[in-house]
């Protein structure tokens, strides 16, 4: 049935597309806005903070301590993390040294079918990001075998670790420089802040279905 419908639809569309007159000229793309490194960080921080993201600019030595501080002040019990990544290994060895006051590290290492109830009860998730976009201010999540999709969605708090030199000026720049069209993965998500809605009387409220809090650690070399 789907095949017959397909044929009928295409027959009409094909006939229809032959009827239209002049070829359409596509105008030039919008002028590209590019920023230098300092501007990128500033712009990303400003725009994401306006969407109520908590942004910390740190460096390779100190980011882990900033993370500790963030976790301790919230008195979290559990933190899901990606064990097979460099981030995961760093967290593991750091926790091994001293995990007092810190949430339990829960590796996301089995398929969701065996992990769902657990995941839904974990307080926070930490992920890397493939990069970020200065304008309009968003992280690029590029989930993979090693970093499953739900880590940045299900727990109420999402912590993202961003390498400062992976910030692009614009969405188009990110796509073009990284040649996304040649390698789209299962899922790519741009995230600009914690989840929100204004469906009730246009009043903004945060933490509807996605994370209530988004915390970004920008790590400069």
């Amino acid at each position: 049935m789907s095949e017959q419908s397909r044929q009928r639809i295409f027959a009409r569309l094909t006939a229809g597309s032959q009827q239209v007159s002049a070829p359409i000229v596509k105008p030039d793309p919008m002028p590209a806005k590019t920023y230098n490194q300092a501007e990128k960080i500033e712009k990303l921080k400003t725009l994401m903070e306006a969407m109520r993201t908590e942004v910390h600019v740190t460096d390779a030595q100190n980011w882990i301590y900033k993370l500790e501080e963030i976790l301790k002040t919230r008195e979290l019990k559990s933190l899901v993390y990606p064990p097979e990544t460099a981030l995961g290994e760093t967290l593991q060895s750091h926790w091994e040294k001293d995990a007092s006051g810190l949430p339990q590290l829960i590796p996301y290492e089995t398929e969701i079918e065996d992990f769902k109830d657990r995941l839904f009860s974990i307080d926070a998730g930490i992920t890397t990001v493939a990069g970020a976009i200065a304008d309009p201010g968003a992280l690029i999540l590029w989930p993979s075998n090693k970093e499953p999709r739900l880590m940045s969605l299900v727990p109420s708090i999402h912590i993202a670790v961003l390498e400062a030199d992976k910030i692009f000026s614009s969405f188009l720049e990110a796509m073009q420089k990284e040649k996304w069209a040649t390698k789209m993965p299962t899922n790519v998500v741009l995230i600009s802040g914690p989840s929100k809605t204004a469906d009730i009387e246009m009043t903004l409220a945060f933490g509807v279905h996605g994370p209530r809090e988004l915390i970004v650690l920008i790590v400069e070399k």
């Binding site: 569309l13 919008m30 969605l153 993965p185 899922n187 204004a198 469906d199 279905h209």
Partner: protein, 476 residues
């Protein structure tokens, strides 16, 4: 809507105009959306360039629609997304049901999808024993209250918070009565979180489908869309066949236009791009992803060069927000799922003019919609076209129901009007008589409508023609 009864627009309007709370809620919300849009598109020159680009992108994509749909299908299929084609609403509903049945599934969680509303999917599934739960907060609210959306972007905007509080309290077990917005949201979050966890199948719409990569792009602020498309083992995506764009690089400007126009933001919380089901080695995401492409009259609209522009619509809802008519009667009065200016041109073409043609009369042609449409659909021009088709007996017309309004009174009136205005002596004589009578026109028909709230105009004792002659103005 599958219902083909002529719309009782007059009664709908009457009811809406009396509902002062409804109109107050709508106007307040629309005012906010209008200001937000203005704020996010503050650079006129840049906005104009962006809209031109949006229009050209859609125009070009539609000019090769069959080719792009084929490429989309091929790419999606290569990536493991199963593509289905539905010519009609019953077919589309059946496809969803079949997928549910193939998994013995009875619980569906839904992200926001106007196409699913067009299909009346929830009611259909309910008839077959399947719970289809809306998870977008606005849709969730109206579903609890057994209503349809009042606006494309903010479906529950006609409700104020105490109405919503009551809806929650009456329908969600063990929920306290509260009018605090944060608390209401927390109730929704808690309730729906359990549903996400347990759902067998998740359903979503598609904002843009990219032919180049076979990618489905969805935007949202709440996170329920990601929940629906990532947690359950099966994801069904519904799209109208006009939603395909050619390249991934088309997304940044189109998203800027859609999001800026719909909610006045630079970007939504999430931009979700799905290209395949779960791959071996991946730990989550649906193992099955289906894309159902719906026609429901779009391919017929497509065949007409002027009417094709109706299909540029990216469902941003900004034409509604700016429409003086929408702002006075709200969304439900329009009777079909797409209200406002886009509804005035889309519904008559999809449902047929007898059923929905009256909507094209509900416009003063003020052009507020055209001024803001992100893809520059010439809505007033298309309204005039629908009006023309409503009277036209042209046998070559492809509009279903054309000529339904044709009647000898109006035909004759306009013929007389044309004659009077091409034979100026007749015209002048007519005016002279009216002027000499020095009185108002008789209060029948249209004039009766006019004088319900206005004093009737009076013919001037001397027309401009006469004054001009008296004043010795040259006529050549």
């Amino acid at each position: 809507m599958a219902n083909h009864q002529p719309l009782d627009f007059k009664n709908n309007v009457s009811r809406a105009l009396k509902d002062t709370q409804l109109i107050k809620n709508i106007q307040s919300a629309m005012n906010t959306l209008v200001l937000k849009r203005k704020n996010i598109f503050s650079d006129d020159a840049e906005t104009e360039q962006l809209r031109t680009l949006g229009n050209a992108t859609k125009s070009l994509a539609l000019s090769k629609l069959p080719e792009l749909l084929e490429r989309l299908e091929k790419k999606c299929t290569e990536n493991g997304i199963r593509v289905h084609w539905a010519e009609t609403i019953p077919e589309a509903n059946q496809l969803v049901l079949d997928i549910m049945k193939s998994h013995d599934a009875t619980r569906l969680v839904k992200g926001k999808s106007m196409v699913s509303e067009e299909m009346e999917l929830n009611a259909y599934l309910q008839q077959h024993g399947i719970e289809a739960l809306e998870t977008d907060l606005g849709e969730f609210i109206i579903q609890l209250n057994h209503e349809t959306p009042a606006h494309i972007i903010v479906p529950a905007i006609h409700k104020n918070r105490d109405q919503i509080s009551k809806i929650f309290h009456d329908n969600i077990p063990d929920s306290p009565y509260t009018e605090n917005v944060d608390e209401l949201n927390a109730i929704a979050r808690k309730t729906l979180r359990k549903k996400f966890q347990k759902a067998d199948v998740g359903l979503s719409g598609v904002n843009f489908a990219v032919a180049e990569t076979g990618t489905l792009c969805l935007v949202e602020n709440e996170g329920n869309g990601r929940m629906c498309t990532t947690v359950p083992g099966v994801h069904i995506a519904l799209m109208g066949l006009e939603k395909v764009v050619e390249k991934l690089e088309d997304l940044p400007p189109m998203l800027r236009l859609l999001i800026g126009s719909a909610t006045g933001q630079l970007i939504t919380t999430y931009v979700n791009m799905i290209t395949s089901p779960r791959k071996p080695g991946e730990k989550d995401g649906p193992k099955e992803v289906h894309l159902i492409i719906l026609d429901n009259g779009r391919s017929k609209i497509y065949a007409d060069a002027q009417r094709r522009q109706t299909l540029y619509c990216i469902r941003c809802g900004t034409c509604l927000s700016h429409c003086p008519v929408y702002n006075r009667i709200g969304g439900h009065a329009y009777g079909y799922i797409y209200p406002g200016p886009i509804g005035k041109i889309l519904n008559p073409q999809v449902e047929g003019l007898e059923a929905a043609g009256v909507l094209a009369t509900a416009s003063s042609l003020c052009n507020a919609c055209e001024e803001v449409c992100p893809v520059k659909i010439p809505i007033p021009e298309l309204i005039r076209r629908i009006r023309n088709e409503s009277y036209s007996k042209d046998p070559t017309s492809t509009v279903a129901g054309h000529g339904y309004k044709s009647n000898w009174i109006e035909s004759l009136t306009w013929k007389i009007w044309a004659i009077a205005n091409t034979y100026p002596l007749l015209n002048a004589a007519g005016i002279k008589i009216m002027g000499a009578l020095g009185l108002k026109l008789p209060k029948v028909g249209p004039l009766k409508q006019w004088t319900h709230c206005r004093k009737a105009p009076e013919f001037a004792p001397q027309s401009l023609q006469e004054l001009v002659k008296q004043n010795g103005v040259d006529n050549e």
